[in-house]
């Protein structure tokens, strides 16, 4: 796989999974917080990449 977005998604998924398992004990809470973290990682990465798009000026 050489897609930046694909690799970003895999990385975000794995990191969010581990953090969710560390921070929560209830499986439903783990799923919820993991999902939020995963979505947050993706959203922030996409926003930052668009902010960097005009660079170098």
């Amino acid at each position: 796989m050489t897609s930046h977005l694909g690799l970003l998604a895999v990385f975000a998924f794995l990191v969010a999974t581990v953090f969710a398992a560390l921070m929560r004990d209830d499986p439903r809470e783990q799923l919820r917080s993991g999902g939020l973290m995963f979505g947050g990682f993706l959203a922030v990465a996409i926003v930052l990449s668009w902010l960097m798009y005009p660079l170098p000026l």
Partner: protein, 136 residues
Amino acid sequence: MPSKITTAETARASAEPGVLALVCVAAWLVPGAGHLYLGRRQKAIVFFVALLTMFGFGLLLEGRIFPFELSEPLVALAAIADLGLGLPWLVARLAGTGAGTVTAVTHEYGNTFLIVAGLLNFLVILDAFDVAMGRK
């Protein structure tokens, strides 16, 4: 008839120094092993699968398992991070993998996967320690 050992009782019994060390070493060697010993099976499985997947991805993406080059501080730090997964690191080194292909398009992604997998396992080790101490 002895009562079923609860997770809390297991945690209190595990607070002995020898057992704490065993939990931490086990967690370092195999991600999730510390939690499995402490009865947290669901977390153990999650850590085992996620961290080994991340490590495997790192190798597949042509990442490098860095050597302990003290003359290059960043390389040394990356080497310490890579060492976060004990047994996978050892198996990879013995198998001759992890040399990394600098010219590969995915090389830096591979490095990131390997480094973060190790660092996350350090957090998992700390969590296992906290569980063993009865703090969680």
